[in-house]
Symmetry: C2
Subunit: 355 residues, 2 copies
Amino acid sequence: MVSVGIMGGGQLGLMMIMEGRRLPFKFFVMDDSDSPACMIADKCFSPSNYKEFVDSSDVVTFEFEHVSEEALIYAHDERKLYPSLDAVELKRERYKEKEYYRNHGLPTPRFTVVRGGDEALRTLKDEFNNYGVIKRSKGGYDGKGQYFVRGDPAVASEVKGMDCYFVVEEFVDFDFEASVIGVRSIRGEFSAYPPTFNLNLKGILVYNYGPYGDPAMQEIVRKLADSLNYVGAMGVEFFVKGSKVMINEFAPRVHNTGHYTLDGALFSQFDQHVNVITGSSPLSTEVTTPSGMLNLLGVEKIPQISEGKVYWYNKKEARKRRKMGHINVVGKDLAEVKGKIDNLMKQIYIKGLDL
Amino acid sequence: MVSVGIMGGGQLGLMMIMEGRRLPFKFFVMDDSDSPACMIADKCFSPSNYKEFVDSSDVVTFEFEHVSEEALIYAHDERKLYPSLDAVELKRERYKEKEYYRNHGLPTPRFTVVRGGDEALRTLKDEFNNYGVIKRSKGGYDGKGQYFVRGDPAVASEVKGMDCYFVVEEFVDFDFEASVIGVRSIRGEFSAYPPTFNLNLKGILVYNYGPYGDPAMQEIVRKLADSLNYVGAMGVEFFVKGSKVMINEFAPRVHNTGHYTLDGALFSQFDQHVNVITGSSPLSTEVTTPSGMLNLLGVEKIPQISEGKVYWYNKKEARKRRKMGHINVVGKDLAEVKGKIDNLMKQIYIKGLDL
């Protein structure tokens, strides 16, 4: 039986195991024993025990790219890591990711890389007329470390005097945000789900639904995955403006905007990921029904609702912005899906969203 | 966190746990530690330890009705057993099940109950003109203990001299077999999936697909479930002849003909079962796409196919007729689903089905 080691015990690892159980895999998780995925893993390893974790696993993956560097490197050195370190490295420094897009002819918003907060503010003024985004190159997740300036640079004053790399980027007045989940095998076979419409607020995904948007995005994902010789599932987020699409960023892992595949497709992104990292070819990425997903952000109790299917991650405590679970919905068309999401938004966030 | 105890560690228990993981349940299984469901349970109990198993569980159910009687009775006495002992009792003696249908105005083939094999053969001749089925009242599963006589009673000569109850039943020259999965809550709420077309050979299910057949079958299932004050998912098998439907038998549990719900509906039969026995209301039983299922009977290795989704039960050894896994397929219509099943039949059973 093949043993799959997952670094990180959050909801993405949890769903990987849930979905992986239809085939005889062993799942090992590297995280605290009370993390969601550890609770249903075949065995849980403390992060300090990373060598034993990697040695016990036939292949190693991660559900979150911000895990211990030494564990990643050890798994890489043992030739067990999928996707590869290269993909993770791009996420360690935002400017490398942006330059990667530019160097590979992948569409992305116009940007300049600078060193130092003062230089970032100057560049924002000189090159972008104080209308753009300053992003810290290192760190940041779910919108952290990003400053959106629409005329008044005071909102980014925090960066003054900071001595680190920044990406200063044009502000894209997009029509909507979208994303595509792609999956690529060890032999380079590629497949992608159709794009979805995503609603992000304050840098965090609230809901998404699909299929929606230009299938051309799938080809961009293929190009990115091929260029990286990527193995696994990946999520790529786009800005869409008219007929133009631009990559905002990618995640070298299963992605929140792909949770709908648990119920909107025969094979989910989690299923795909586990399959390709263990040597299989991508499975069908056709969707079987229009569908959507709503995140349960900071929600304290399992909602009692009948309009969708609740996935509850069983985290110890609810915190503002924390993803506590999600709800998947299906419908005969996108209007029905959207209607269900709208109803759920009212039922779940009675007092409005607090982000 | 609610603890669900499952008696029996086969594939039905395995899928109950797989599906139950989207909500924070603990799953305890009573069976050998190397049984499929035990391997992914939170804790596994030996059948001799049934008291500790029941005491540890908030609710107790079974994935197979032929489990230890004393364990069932203990769980019943502790008021934890769903569905109830009454439903199981009907499956202990086939004649009780048949009489139950007759007494409750539920359509079923004409039958006579007799004691002794010789009397069974005499009844078959006198009342059914040697054209009918002799079924041992006790035992029997997947077609065992049943003798189909079409003119020549010699095929049932095994029963001669046997001193036990038999059901002698008319032979129904049905157009097709069908089934419905129903689900009923503690408060009596009921819902049912649409019927499916089932192909049984030698008393064992080979494949099924749907939705197919008269929705009136759903109402018969409701009547049966209500009369039993049933709690949980149940599978009811029918003979269909023209516009007439007759119950062949029912199973007081999730059912092989409901495996398609894992991929053809938002909520699966397993999901429903776990939810209602823990106090929730039935979830939507709408299907999201035409779909079907093919059993992997006696198949030794995980099939490498791309036309469907393989569920492999990870049983220690393959035996003739043994259900080693199944494949779910979906399609835009039943013709596409049926086409995929036909293709899979050729790929999986290259030398034909050996039952």
